[in-house]
Symmetry: C2
Subunit: 184 residues, 2 copies
DNA sequence: GAGCGCATGTAAAGGGTTACATGATTCT
DNA sequence: AGAATCATGTAACCCTTTACATGCGCTC
């Protein structure tokens, strides 16, 4: 359901095509809400069918730009205000942690080093966006202010994971003796 | 794919039934990797068909406990060591942040307060588990040490989100004038 | 005119949730 | 006896991903 409102939200900033939306999703929201183009196009067609968006213009390579309708605006705002937040997370890195005891200690160490690196990099990317925004590179409309807040979440989230991986690397973790696997 | 290995990983600690696994998933991994019982039972049957687990015993209410096979152990370990981590996140709370500018400021403030509360609570829950573990309540086998590490991720992740929501609450956010929606 | 990037889709398969269904055992 | 809990499953649906397909327009 969220992709639907993500699209409406982006269209609330102004008209865009499916292609545009796919790019912007990838760039700005890709790491907190991935969306592939087939889903986007499908959803746009459904939204148009329901009258929440409409074709604003048709361009060169059969490009169709959509505009949000008043009904569409009402719909996103309703979602933001009335729908309760789905707090579901699904983080493979943390799932794996529950099974670290099955790993060879050397493998684990290497694994955590690479994880820390990845997360630190992701945090740095968000930080880069944040400083550019704070410098005023993208103007200072309410939309970019919101993106700045979202970026802050990215920074803190990935930094937390990077710190965690760093911390975990230094945790002592006994390797299972033969008795620890498969018996109680 | 991950549920598969999550089940194998849990079964590496010792035999369990689908019901047990569903409960343990819910309790320990529910907030980083949700899994409903229909999926679990289905996956267990597939795993058994592939010889990665086998029925260890049949109990009272047609309970079937499974045991991991040597092939199953090889399979989880292979996943942990060789498969690259899927770092995909999907966090609705952060997606919503990109659209805060569409919200009524009073609604937004209330929203962020409730978010902060939720995340702080989740962090506290994990912290509760962590102190119990550090007290030695669950023994100190390598399995619980791994769970301790996973719990630490939960603490840091949710604390980061709680801090973020708290921070966001104090960010100035201009409401869009009539010109900001649907134009440009 | 060759190749790249724009632009939109379809089809198939996978992963996950929700609702429904059922029966056995234990507890009060 | 009735209620709660244990225990397993099926069916339908929804969401998402991956692979395939196609054609236009711009640039070199």
């Amino acid at each position: 359901m969220s992709l639907r409102f993500g699209l409406l939200g982006l269209l609330a900033e102004g008209p865009a095509s499916g292609y545009d939306l796919a790019r912007r999703f990838q760039e700005m929201l890709g790491s907190v809400w991935p969306a592939q183009h087939p889903k986007i196009y499908a959803e746009l067609n459904r939204l148009a069918g329901e009258g929440l968006i409409e074709v604003e213009s048709e361009g060169p390579r059969r490009r169709k730009a959509y505009r949000i309708t008043p009904a569409g605006l009402v719909s996103v705002r309703g979602w933001l205000a009335d729908t309760e937040v789905d707090h579901t997370l699904r983080i493979q890195s943390v799932l794996r942690a529950a099974f670290f005891w099955l790993m060879d200690p050397a493998d684990l160490r290497r694994h955590l080093e690479r994880e820390a690196e990845f997360f630190a990099r992701a945090a740095a990317d968000y930080r880069g966006y944040a400083v550019a925004k704070d410098r005023g590179d993208f103007g200072s409309g309410p939309q970019t202010q919101s993106l700045r807040i979202a970026a802050e979440a990215g920074i803190r989230l990935y930094q937390a994971l990077a710190d965690w991986a760093e911390w975990a690397k230094d945790q002592p973790l006994a390797t299972p003796g033969p008795g620890d696997v498969k018996e109680t």
